[in-house]
Symmetry: D2
Subunit: 364 residues, 4 copies
């Protein structure tokens, strides 16, 4: 169950303070020239230690590819890669090994497995998402050949919420700041919100909005593997997520059918479009060619630097104050992760499409 996808499949491994984290991509289209520099750059976007808003753990997150590539091109064989863990301090966790931190996986993992790797949250550390970003970077490069672009950005931090629609934003500017909000003014406000929480030893949550452009109509599998269902599944596999909505989302609840229906129209080039996009690009579980738009809710990081009550393995109440280095807000570093998971989801559906040919129109 450490594998994501059906035809484009990523299997991940590794713990936060183990020797290495890494993954194996199976089903990657062959004969594709990966831009490795771009992969590393994308990985660097979620790298810790590069902003005051991020955990101060110093990791280079240098990706090493072990297989599946010959003379710079994919061969169809599985692409394995590792990121060796360089800088960790398991001693920070020594005092936590016999207690269950609130709202972490300490208790649930121990209950499930009867054993727990307590160093840096072990397998359930968000460090695992670095691996997803590698695979997502490759998926995005392939999607680019099909004219498909995947974006994600911070649209809310705590109570600071971006009101502009994505169509009013310059999506190429998302990574221009460390908040990953393309509206600089809001980004500043959000940054303050995060830093304020940090100064208080506290943490804060937020929302990431995703936008996928250029997806052809007809992707998605009825009845259970709806595009929307697989996208929700992908997003809720990301640590700290609490909710998912697409198109009108929860706001649809208060709309009438006559308001919510997306009327079909013909654009100036004679293409079928919808006048509004409450469907978020997905109708009856299948893409309709309009932009896919979705939002993912993140809770505040569980590790706060305040003393809290909790319970130890002997079920005795104890008080504790955590060590370690942590993000004050999960959102900015989650932005590339959302983007990566969305890209893998789209590519997987593209490979499953049965009509119109798959890779064949593309000259690599």
């Amino acid at each position: 169950m450490n594998t994501f996808g059906r035809l484009f499949r990523l299997t991940t491994f590794g713990e936060s303070h183990g020797k290495a984290i890494g993954g194996v991509i199976d089903g990657c289209p062959p004969n594709f020239a990966i831009d490795f520099e771009q992969v590393q750059k994308f990985v660097d976007l979620r790298r810790p230690g590069t902003s005051l808003l991020f955990s101060q753990r110093q990791e280079q997150d240098k990706v090493q590819f072990l297989s599946g590539i010959f003379k710079g091109k994919t061969t169809g064989a599985p692409i394995a890669f590792v990121i060796y863990n360089k800088e960790y301090r398991s001693s920070d966790y020594e005092n936590l090994k016999d207690l269950y931190r609130p709202s972490h996986g300490d208790f649930t993992y121990e209950k499930k497995y009867g054993i727990r790797d307590w160093r840096g949250s072990g397998r359930y550390s968000a460090r695992e998402t670095a691996v997803r970003v590698v695979a997502g970077a490759i998926a995005m490069q392939i999607l680019d050949k099909f004219g498909i672009k995947v974006f994600a950005y911070t649209s809310q931090i705590g109570s600071i919420s971006l009101q502009k629609a994505y169509t009013e934003l310059n999506l190429t500017k998302i990574y221009a700041n460390d908040v990953r909000c393309p509206d600089e003014r809001l980004a500043d406000m959000m940054r303050q919100e995060i830093l304020k929480a940090k100064q208080q030893g506290d943490t804060v949550g937020g929302v990431v909005t995703g936008v996928i452009q250029g997806v052809p109509a007809g992707l998605g599998e009825p009845i259970y593997d709806k595009f929307s269902a697989r996208l929700a599944y992908a997003m809720l596999s990301i640590p700290a997520t609490k909710g998912f909505e697409f198109g009108s989302g929860f706001s649809a609840v208060q709309m009438k059918g006559s308001e919510h229906n997306d009327l079909f129209d013909i654009d100036e080039r004679g293409n079928l479009i919808t006048k509004t996009n409450n469907s978020g690009g997905i109708q009856a579980g299948i893409t309709n060619g309009m932009d896919i738009v979705f939002r993912v809710a993140f809770k505040p990081v569980s590790t706060i630097f305040k003393e809290q009550q909790t319970v130890d393995r002997q079920l005795k109440k104890v008080r504790y104050r955590p060590g370690g280095r942590h993000d004050p807000c999960p959102v900015p570093r989650a932005v590339p992760v959302v983007q990566a998971m969305a890209a893998m989801t789209v590519l997987d559906f593209l490979l499953l499409r049965q009509k119109d040919g798959l890779m064949i129109d593309v000259e690599y």
Copy 2:
């Protein structure tokens, strides 16, 4: 992709106006005496024609079992069942067969498959969910042996929102009214909201809240098959859904970590509990033994009885007014569907659990 589940697997088939709908359950625990009367009663809860709030199509939805049962008990062989369609009027759809109704699957299905069964929305009709309810009813009976109870209820219709938490409600009264809201006063208001929309030839959306009690700690599979991710996937496979959240959900975004963390405590019987349940019973993707709580957003039904503009298969603009019989609100009849999908999700995870034994402590 018409199959749901990993070890407890439901495969469904059938179209709204075809001969029959039905399903095959594979992986059902053997030697279990199904209460068939209870199954039929549960199916009747989503049957059309039984309330003014529902579609007036008259269907008995009589479930016939074809296999997998011997002398009233499951044998471990696949359990097939059919519901023959009795009352449908495909003629109501004749005038729609060459156009794409807004926010339906007409366009996307035709784009995906190059062909479309236009009678009553064919495969993408919500009629398919009757099959899920059969399998869910069986799953609930099995879960009951393990002390696991699954509930779902209407918590919002349009702007009428139930403010009480589920702990303040009598969950055994959900089906006492046709709105499926256990608070009678709110149920009345919600009923008016639906009828008002109906009178206007319009439709309205809503929210279903789900609660699962008695789930043992330790269910869920890292990293991708988190309990929350699978639950989201299950819910967003239901027609008309737009969003999913669990525990604190989207409201977590505005909370501080110090507010959001669920502090561990010991109850009077010496069991580990959490003082709050923002986690919604799921931590790091694995159940922690607390109640699982989630919410699912439904859009208003797309078929409204007002003239609308749309586009036909020749991409010409046309105006149309639908026929057929439809629900003015998808929510009341979706309540048992949410319950069914939740039950199957839990049972599937229970069968995957590797420690503590599976079925063995249960005397059937």
Copy 3:
């Protein structure tokens, strides 16, 4: 686990003496006009009661389709079908219900499930293969559009073995006799071998040879889903099978590499071929464009009409003599089953192929 295939998937259900057997095909290419008469004709080839060599159970095996077809064409929705059981005499099995017949599934099924449907061998009756033949017939019709032909024939019954290679046979004459051996002289000898065993109240085994022509090079998935591995899996899922080999098979063991290697050559049309075909059309797990050739061993039917010693459910030794109606040899009626499983295996791989387009060159 009652599902076969990855993209072209068949889920089967039903017991020998239950109400019905049937199946659901998921992933069938859409927009294809099925020739239903041909499907029924193919099903009739394995129907009991039509030859002295077959079980005398009288079943019409009339296939009824329930879904997935609109105006004679597949829609992409799951294709469900049932065959109602009409003529069975469960009373023939009453005296067997508390004992374990030798070399049947009585003991193993009861051990696995804790319960057993003893009527006519229940789920583990070869009657289930009627369902595979329906799906295989559809698969063959689709493959035909791609110029792919699937054959199977009886090549050995007991000690009567056909020495001719398939290239010396007229494969269109296979079903001209009830033995399903295209060499009439050998067919007569085989028929006598079966009837002789039948007269003695005994049974006899045999070999079915399969030939698939027109398969393009490049089908098959390394490393585990080799074409040969999936074909072996498909064949050994057929009741009464004991072995599988492809190309040179077990005879390769005694060959030198210099004899066994299939040298490449260019034919008169400039195509790459191999001079010999010890590879059986599969090299390194992937098809090479040559004919795929394989052989499947069948044991003699376990039900013999002689008194035998066995053990009952209380683990007491008992003597028994079976009732019921059975085949004296499993091979003739298994021929269409081998053909069906081979066809589904090829089609599944064809749908998985990523290069060269899938269905797109075909005008239905």
Copy 4:
């Protein structure tokens, strides 16, 4: 498709002359103390360069574990491991890169992927099987806790065939010689057969017999995932395999039902057994508690040191003589691979078993 198994899953990666080969085991039971020294010893049994009968490539095949283990015990997290390739000479293959060697994967891989890593056969080199042996070694250690033992041995090389049944052999002596035949006299004869072929620049095939003891009755999944079908699938995924049979296998074809039936009996301890074991421990696809016995046919190695005709990528006929270092017979080094695949197959079924509890009787 580079993943094997359903609950105990191995994903492999790597090419013969790439940086590394390796794998990820997902679903390994937690809390198990792996004996790493034993794992390495088992890997060494298929290591090249250790006998005149093997390829002379010098590889240490040192296994490095990267994840999933904490203080020597499995944690339930995926277990990743790598074996870095140390000694390879890709230059040996330079002259082969533009031609298709007979009976190798050169042509089929290029046809499938449009690209080929020609160094040392790339992904389709049998070097990949080193990874399976690692996972198989771990599986065997776990099975040992359940009293399940997995054996494999050479039973035929060319025309030299061991006539003794496995019950007459000392299965603990298999690895006492480099042929891996527990009958020393036959082992000598087989060794001569291999060396004779080698001296002639030729190669030879053979048979590996597998025996699994202590498997409980009730493992296997009807209808398609029969124990026998999965075992065949596992075995035919091994490079150079041509056939599989279990129990009586192809010899069943010439037996009468009255000879072939395995009569049930009660042994001195009151357990149900069969007097003969033509079923090879599997009846109706499910284990019956008797020893599982099977045989796997291997063709002679395709690389021979004689000049052969072949065809190049421009479809011109050429003559070639291979370089590289190769096994004169695939069988001796395949013995631990057969053992590994069998072990993983059994463990996977054990984890799927629903009754009787899974891991619960085992004190780690």
